[in-house]
Symmetry: C2
Amino acid sequence: MPTLVMKFGGTSVATLDRIRRAAKRVGREVANGYDVIVIVSAMSGKTNELVGWVEETSPLFDAREYDAVVSSGEQVTAGLMALTLQEMDVPARSWAGWQVPLKTNSAHASARIEEIPTDNINAKFAEGMKVAVVAGFQGISPEGRITTLGRGGSDTTAVAFAASFGADRCDIYTDVDGVYTTDPRITSKARKLDKIAFEEMLELASLGAKVLQTRSVELAMRYKVRLRVLSSFEDNDDNAGTLVCSEEDIMESNVVAGVAFSRDEAKMTLLSVADRPGIAAAIFGPLADASVNVDMIVQNISEDGRTDMTFSLPVNQIARAEKAMDEAKASGEINFAELVTDADVAKISVVGIGMRSHAGVASQMFKALRDEGINIKVITTSEIKISVLIDRKYMELAVQALHDTFGLEKAA
Amino acid sequence: MPTLVMKFGGTSVATLDRIRRAAKRVGREVANGYDVIVIVSAMSGKTNELVGWVEETSPLFDAREYDAVVSSGEQVTAGLMALTLQEMDVPARSWAGWQVPLKTNSAHASARIEEIPTDNINAKFAEGMKVAVVAGFQGISPEGRITTLGRGGSDTTAVAFAASFGADRCDIYTDVDGVYTTDPRITSKARKLDKIAFEEMLELASLGAKVLQTRSVELAMRYKVRLRVLSSFEDNDDNAGTLVCSEEDIMESNVVAGVAFSRDEAKMTLLSVADRPGIAAAIFGPLADASVNVDMIVQNISEDGRTDMTFSLPVNQIARAEKAMDEAKASGEINFAELVTDADVAKISVVGIGMRSHAGVASQMFKALRDEGINIKVITTSEIKISVLIDRKYMELAVQALHDTFGLEKAA
């Protein structure tokens, strides 16, 4: 039998009614001839409640006990989902992570999956069971203790199961109906993508299009798991969502797949830094130590042995970053004339694997922004992405202009 | 190190504050030099919530999934208790039932404990851990699935751990401060017992003094586990509760230990039953099949080959019993002239191991009731108990009179 993995997030299993609704979808895939592995999250709100109790009990908690407590939510949903399927005469049973067993390392609260043996579940499929319902987000450490995989861990669980069982597809049911060319709240021309390449999805996910957890996309890309994102709230037939897949599975696509943005960015410039070997390390070491997430970095050309160093960071980390720089200056590690902070910038990125083979995307982007009178403060590029920092007040305008100029409202 | 088992029920761990309070008691016993095994229930209300979800999802639920769902509540409390102890600098960790592993049979939702290996937990005690917090009410089946022990399962878990680890004592923390000579709501003269014998506790428990689950007392008796019942809400030093122990540990006691009662009883009489061998089986077989819990049974002497058969049952099972008897009559299995039901009776019992060696307890009991003008409808006796059925309206009066006549307000 071909195998399918279906994952339902917290809002999709928030009530018994929604669990029933999800179970109906599972039943349809069983009727389609699949053996199905269902990965469930905790009912929405449950994990936060449990985390709240742990943090109130012990601010610097023992992560092993944290895992024992918070993993219970998924166990409940898994049992309820199995019961719901049984009521629909679909042979099903639940598995906790440790029963599979989904083996992880011992990094409690953010464990990495090491192995998912398939024999237990496949033995039950062979006996006629049609659905294995597995509690997401959790596994078991070499010491026999419950581990959890950290945020987005249920997506990662689903992809890992799809890889281990050689599933035809891994369907992620969520509260959006797919991946869009950009946020539909910014422009009504935003279009749902039928397909998107793993690499594009990775860039979009890490840029704040929070449909899929980055880690699950990385895993899917490595094991070539066809990943589909679709809504658990739409029942019509054209709810096909977006397929995240290998480049080869996409016949034709736009050069640019989407426009991503990140609102709460800040820009920091160290003016007149003494330019010497190791200066970058001297600057970004203390920032990393202070847990500042530096994103874009630009160094001006050097003049008279001095240069300007500019970088971007989340706006709520400005104070931490300024403190780190001032201390580094005081200790003599670095030497700069002035630290200039701009707290009102946003990052806009165009992403597309087609950019690899199409020249001129950058110039088309810069021209579109210029035509709107938008000044570009910082530019960085990768093979499939061009990002710019601009004044935050122009963010929506820039997204609309870029969406238009690359014709994203129409499919390729 | 001597070992102590401490069990906290749902009301004793209902909030983070109460868990802290319970943890302080545990900390005190650690300071007293004990290695402590703490057995916890789910926070009060949680198990009912989970059971409600299961029953709503699937009225005739798969008990294996029921167990997977409802066992999660204890797992949460165990983790939170371990964290609370760690915050108080008491080295502690949690165990789910399957981690111990507490091995049970496969009778899901009402599993029997088969074995509790001590090596895992003892290894941690040897490393310096002072408290093992174990999720009560649950274990693991030979098939590797989670089982639960049924109602009162956490008391049973505690006693089983005390037996396996050879604990000095098993302390059951609950919302009452001990076992009383009778319900203090019936007479203010009711006195808390310092000690009570297992056999007496069993009779009192099964008669509705719901302090300890019958099954846990049976287990304690078999393995000679000293069981103490005490309040988790009183912090003063004379909160010593009641020790349930072997007869030999009680130097001197009253002939009668307590007066128990059961309010919602009914009496049913089959008049003029044809008396033949097998007639009792013919009557009580159909009642058992209809899940009627018959308690006391009295058969009158036979006259002209016919007799009257009287039995007691819970008042809410009258309809079921009448239906079963009418059907048995219609099918010709039994033959009786009339079925007379009295729905307004109560059962009063005096219990005491001293009755074995003291004659005259029954006559003293009957005299006390006669002096109050209370008519006795049915009598049954065992070695350490005399029970009577009386009109329900005299129940309180009877309890007070018996409490007085046996001098229970004073210790021996």
